[in-house]
Amino acid sequence: MASLFSGKILRRRARATQTERVRERRHEGFLRYAGFRWAKISGGLCLLVIVSYALIDVQPRPNGGSWYGYTLGTVGALLILWLTALGYRKRRMTRDYWSLKAWTSAHVYLGLSLIVIGTWHTGFQLGWNVHTLAWALMMLVILSGLYGVIVYATLPAALSNNRDQMTQMQMLEAIRAFDRQLHAAAQPLGAADTAPVLAALEEDPFAGGIRARLTGRYPRCATAAAQRALAAATGGEAEARAKVVALLTQKQAALARLRAHLRLRALLEVWLYVHVPLTFALIAALSAHVISVFFYW
């Protein structure tokens, strides 16, 4: 694939004896890559399909089984397989020149073009059969991918802002540090006040399930509960309690940062758990579709 992406890349030859090395210095995101090269290619492809569909008079009517339908179907099926290969490309660190950004860019725009290629391939004949199942799965994969593009374009800045130069390990360490301080500060408290603090200490910052992770809402947060309980409590050891309440408030802030971090990361990743399995379902349905078409030739 390397030759496809050789465009305006800074190449240089260090010395005659050295291997030629490529250095990508341009600062642009995957959507804008090479001046929207893949958006243009993909748009052109869609336009070609729509115009040719209108111009070519397939008899008796536009159909997936016509020569035109077969052409679109073959292009679409090959595209689907190639788009799936991104998962392999991403993880395979070969030594030749390729840019995953270029692959992502092509993946996004060519993937979107499948809406046109796949739908026009059907000739708008949809029904309750394995063929339409493949089409529907394809549309779902594209939709989940579209969500992915949107979160990739919008969430990173929020992730960066929330992190505020801290690493995830440092966030966890900060919470553990508050726990240690809480443990020491809660020693003078009575049994009734100690129980909620102990619950807060035992709380696992990662617990809460998928729902809490995605919404960032933790209604059963033991730290928040302990903070409420102790703030409302009265009786002896008021000074120690005030110190514990202050620490609980600080821990809550640290927890909020970590939870926001985990939420953003989850939102950036969750769609892959739809996109990838659906892709394999799509490939299965597509195989069934292709085999059945040829079986009933």
Partner: protein
Amino acid sequence: MSGLVRVAIIGSGPAGLSAAARAAQLGLSHVLLEKTDHLSDTIFKYQKGKRVLATPERLDLRSDCRFGEAARETILADWDADAAASKVEVVYNAEVVEVTGAKGAFEIRTAKGDTIAAEAIVLAIGTQGNPNRLRCPGNDLPHIIYQVDDPEDFKDRHITVVGSGDAGIENALGVAEEALENRVTILNRSKEFARAKAKNVADLTEAGENGTIDIRTETQPKLVEEGWLTLETPDGDERIACDTIVARLGSVAPRAFVEAMGIEFTGPDREAFPKLSPTFETSVPGLYVIGALAGYPLIKHCMNQGYDVVEFINGNTALTPADEKDLAAIFAGLPQEKSVSEWLDFLRARVRIFADVSPLQMREFMLDSTVGFYRQGEVVFEKGDPGSSLFAIAEGHAEVEVAPGVTVPIEEGSIFGEVGLISGRKRGATIRAGADSIFVEVSRTAALKLMAAVPGAKRAIDRISLERQLLQIFKGGLTVEDLAPVVEGAEVVRVPAGKVVLTEGDEGDDVYVIRSGSMVVEKDIGGKPIFLRYLPAGSYFGEMAVLSGEKRNATVKAAVGSEVIKLTGAGFKAMLAARPQVREATEAAVAERAAMNGFIESRKASYASAVDLYSDTASFIMKEGLGEATDALLIDENLCVGCDNCEKACADSHEGLSRLDREAGKTFAHLHVPTSCRHCEHPHCMADCPPNVIHRGPDGEVFMEPGCIGCGNCMRNCPYGVIRMEATPPPKPGLLSWLLLGRGPGPGEPSPKWTKKRLGEEKPKKIAVKCDMCKGIAGGPACVRACPTGAAIRVSPEEFLSIARLEEDAG
């Protein structure tokens, strides 16, 4: 002690032990004096089970003691056995405090008061010196230790670390590891940890905030007792529980002790070594210095010298050093037939910078150098090539291409390539052989050693480099004679990072040339300093005021610790007056700079926020130390989704270890500087590498060749914390077998748990691991190739802070 011995050897490390073993084998009367109660204290103190490496591999071992790569225990046991087998006369617990007398009748006095009479003395005491002790009562108690071999030796104890340097902080952090359950206190006499690296201070502060280390500033020990330590604090005395005291108060270098014997050093600098003859004899006849103290930190060198020095003392003048065949190989490709010593004399006679070099030093320099024969017209290097070695012309001459088609000759005996050596930047001009010539290429490390050891060589190199730099800047039309008035009054000024060299609005007409480091130019616009330009080494500034006669129109300050050459305005003007075409060229350059300043000022009016962002980003980048970077990884956090594919790609492109930590590091306006190598202009990691395996490669990358001994100096010297000490993990199953069958840990660096399970009991050696910019990989740096969104870029500061970027931002 009875009788006069033929040779007394002080220090029983590899060098001393090898010397004593040789003396014993030759049947010479001898004595080996050791300060402690065991042989080879430095290696004895290594961490348990540490692998000791035997580099350089090409050098043959010549000693009566065995040595090869092995665990510390094996090596020490071998040496004990070899010393016994050779019947070496060792005196333990004999710390030498004074040496008097002269050749044939030296008298050595030990701390215990014994005296030993010797005809000759071999000094092999290394460079470790003696650690400074606590100065309070109780400082002789056994629970005070001076180093921490393995933090895991300490569990559930009260530990107090005294000392605020890197060693103290690193020890404190080591024993404060949560699982060890120690209660750790660190004492600092002053308020700040000023002597330590920023990263260590940050880690310590964090540990203090987390409560894992109790940091006590303005506090010092007052009284040491078994189990307790009394502290002198600003609020009065305090007694704390303390089972172990780790004292890291630096050490006394052995130099004063050595000089007291009358031995002369090559210079006043810290890097200087004793002056030695080819037989390791010092300026005091009969007194010999070998090993680390003589400037040879590697064990194999030390052992060979031990053998050689005793042979020399015994009158064996025919002995050639063990490196003879290596030197012979260096001269092998040359057209003339000469012996190694004839070649060395030839070079010393021909090349000016080698004139003051002793024959022993010359051998050493040549081992780090190559000698090449070049046909007339052959290219030595091209403009823009990376390279930091220095070339000397032993025969023939060189031609410098100062402009296309314009060449200037460099005569026999002179040097070239010094710009790369001094500034660490790429080659400034193409050089060809002007006739059939012999050039000596001296590696950067050897050249720096030469400059430190031989003052005459340093002066020659400095003068030539200034002339060349000026010729380069004012391309063509100038001769060395024209430069005379400028060079005469020139002065090299060191500028610490952040220091202002020129202030906007001041009078003054001095012109400055940046010799090393880099500068930033700022202008006060609307009450705020606005970044105008980044000036890398080799640029000049201050010329505007000379030409216009007006006040300084911008402020210039050092982005990193730099060296500038100050030229007087008068000399500069005289030079311009003599050469009108140079004046025109300079005026044109000034006009271009002025136009760019004007552009930024005009943008400031219409796009204030874009200019502010550009300026603030530039300040951030400089604050992060990127002013000394040549190629750094930056991450645009508007695009980074946190997939860590960069780290995984890095690990998978190398031997399974990632050289970058994406998440760590500072961020400004969504621009993130991750923890990864910046390939500094003058790499700090190169400063002290005993096996000398860190080099700058052809693409400008700073990389490590095999041969690391795992000493950790580079890791400690790197101010950016980008070097890890790590063992190579075992190979993983392939990608497909992970994807399809779920075998192995998958892409990226395997977890320590997986590695441990795979290796079982085996503990592989840890060596330094750093970014090599994917050296030798045709596709280029993997981190950037593997970024799915285009967030990761690799740039040099001048590329990143280009005006194009501002235009892009301003739209």
